[in-house]
């Protein structure tokens, strides 16, 4: 309610969005695609929620079934259309298949120089970390090989002996490191640092160069050790 016209214009401009799209694109066409194909919304379910009975699944009761609402299968038309440009600016995540990896390239040697200059002060010259705040990155302890971590809390996790996907390393360095200036590295630099840290832990060759295709092809040593949650009732599992 407090959203003034002026604010909405500003917001639209900020997101690069057009006002014409604001909050009312095409009216009531939500249909089944948004409901996950679950049971139909019913007034009974909604009132069950209102009286504090067992909360029903949100899929089941607020799809327009809220008193006074637009009606089942319709939507409210609130919010502004996000433009492709605004989304591209924010959406920098890299999934496990590396489909979104950007153009660019970086070598282990280049990564080593960058690491010394921008990372070693916190993570140690050899990636050994500084307890408790700065995590160890590399230096595989032979005692930990074979994924023995459950038996001894002191066995150090490193990128090479634990991480399941090389794409994660690229994604994380690009979004969060260096800790003092996150988001400051170029894509080439992120490729180089990723290459350096993978080589340091014997995942790739010491003279390797990474680009999108090469990074996609990297297989982490213990990738197959991760299993779905199988905790069951009445067992400590």
């Amino acid at each position: 309610m407090r959203m003034t016209r002026v604010r909405r214009v500003l917001l639209g401009a900020m997101l690069g969005g057009s006002l014409a799209a604001a909050g009312c694109d095409g009216g009531a066409t939500a249909g089944a695609s948004g409901t996950g194909g679950e049971r139909a919304a019913t007034a009974g379910a909604a009132s069950g929620a209102a009286t504090g009975a067992t909360p029903v699944r949100f899929a089941d009761y607020d799809g327009g079934a809220v008193p006074g609402g637009p009606g089942a299968g319709r939507h409210y038309g609130i919010g502004i259309r996000a433009t492709a440009a605004a989304i591209t600016k924010m959406d920098r995540d890299i999934g496990p298949d590396g489909a979104e990896l950007p153009a660019g390239t970086g070598s282990v040697a280049e990564g080593g120089a960058l690491y010394k200059a921008q990372c070693a002060m916190c993570h140690g010259v050899n990636g050994e970390g500084m307890a408790p705040a700065f995590p160890r990155l590399s230096g595989r302890d032979p005692a930990a090989e074979g994924f023995k971590f459950a038996s001894d809390p002191k066995l150090p996790h490193t990128i090479g002996n634990y991480w399941s996907h090389a794409t994660t390393l690229f994604d994380y360095i690009r979004r969060a490191m260096p800790h003092v200036a996150p988001g400051s590295l170029t894509d080439d630099q992120v490729y180089a640092l990723t290459a350096y840290l993978l080589a340091k832990d014997d995942v790739i060759a010491k003279d390797a160069t990474l680009d999108a295709a090469a990074l996609r092809a990297v297989k982490m040593p213990y990738a197959d050790r991760f299993v779905p949650d199988d905790r069951r009732p009445n067992a400590p599992k």
Binding site: M1, M3, R7, L11, M14, L15, G17, D25, T29, S33, G34, T35, G36, A49, P55, R57, F58, A59, D62, G63, H75, Y76, G77, I78, G79, I80, R81, A82, I87, M90, D91, R92, D93, I94, G95, P96, A133, F147, K148, F149, A150, S151, D152, Y162, W163, S164, H165, T167, T168, D171, Y172, R175, A176, P182, V227, D229, R231, A235, P236, K237
Partner: protein, 425 residues
Amino acid sequence: MAKRIEDTELTRRDLLAGAVGAVGGAMLAGLPATLGGQQGAAAPSGAPARPTVPADATKLQGGATTPLGARSAFEAPSRAPYGETTGSSLTPLQDLAGNITPSDLHFERHHAGIPALDPERHTLTIHGLVDRPLSFSLDDLKRFPQVVRPYFIECSGNGRGAFRDPKPDLTAQKVAGMLSTSEWTGVPLATLFREAGVKPKAKWFLAEGGDACLMTRSVPIEKAWDDAIIVWAQNGEALRPAQGYPMRLLLPGWEGNINVKWLRRIELGTQPWMTRWETSKYTDPLPNGTARQFTFELDAKSIITSPSHPDTIGERGWHAVNGIAWSGRGRVTRVEVSVDGGRSWANAELLGESSPKSTVRFQYMWDWKGGEAVLLSRATDEAGFTQPTRTALIAERGLGTDYHFNQVVGWKVERSGKVLFHGET
């Protein structure tokens, strides 16, 4: 159960000190200091640490009205922070008596500090496998139908220290203080997903925070259709900055980290993104050389908060043993208490209705005869999970497992009345 403190006779000097310390209201400015109000004030330097108050509070006017409520000067609950930008601070469970954690005592855990965000500039964008990518301002979110529900949030690393190294000097705060409960207000994520028109192909979504590490976690879409909420209020007012101001994702019953704070973006996709916080961290190594991944639910758990270390039980006789129980899988259906180290168990009373994925208080009346005793609690939830002993948990998961420590814990009471942590169950 702290030792009883005898009433102290206050001198006239104390009285003046107490009253003067509290004067502040303009209305009272012209009055003699002794009439200026009587909230306890910090003791003058050199005196004992207890606040000073008038000898007889019925004989002079009380303190003035104030713009913000403050705790009694006799009460000083505080979190126990450690670390800075990647640190945490723990809720003082031993000082709390209800389900709701006062917002300023809610535990904190963050990975890149607490960002300062302007609610007028912050937006939440939903995109990816949707018909209509949309951005919502905070005011936009408040136009949707709201829900108000009590849920706990617990860090899945809560209790790691007590599991691995159960030292007698641990407090309830150190054992389980990364658990807090709030009444949350927000809009169901399902409502926003309908608004954007989620495509049937979408099976997971990525939630991203607006902090300096752009925290990202992947969530199965079913959670949105079940009970996920985008919340902007906590205990009746705007979220605290450390809790995600101006908006956060709330996934009831799921490990703390996935309740992404400072939420700025949700992307719908077909598979999990395998972010650092679901691979390098928040995975649970097992003795068979594997690690569980996406261990979202928090298991049934409980802790006795009174008595607890460093209390000393001053008197024999009846004492209310009470504490808090919770489960990420639904309601807590039963809490049992043992006063003999687990040889025998009795049902505790649940105080009020147990609410799903929230906390419930329990109590058990105990007639202490002055002997050594070990007090334990054990919760069972509606999904059929019961807390295991530490021995059983180590056998199943190993001492080096990293998250989800829900073993039975309690307190040893010595003959002297001294209370010490008992973690080796």
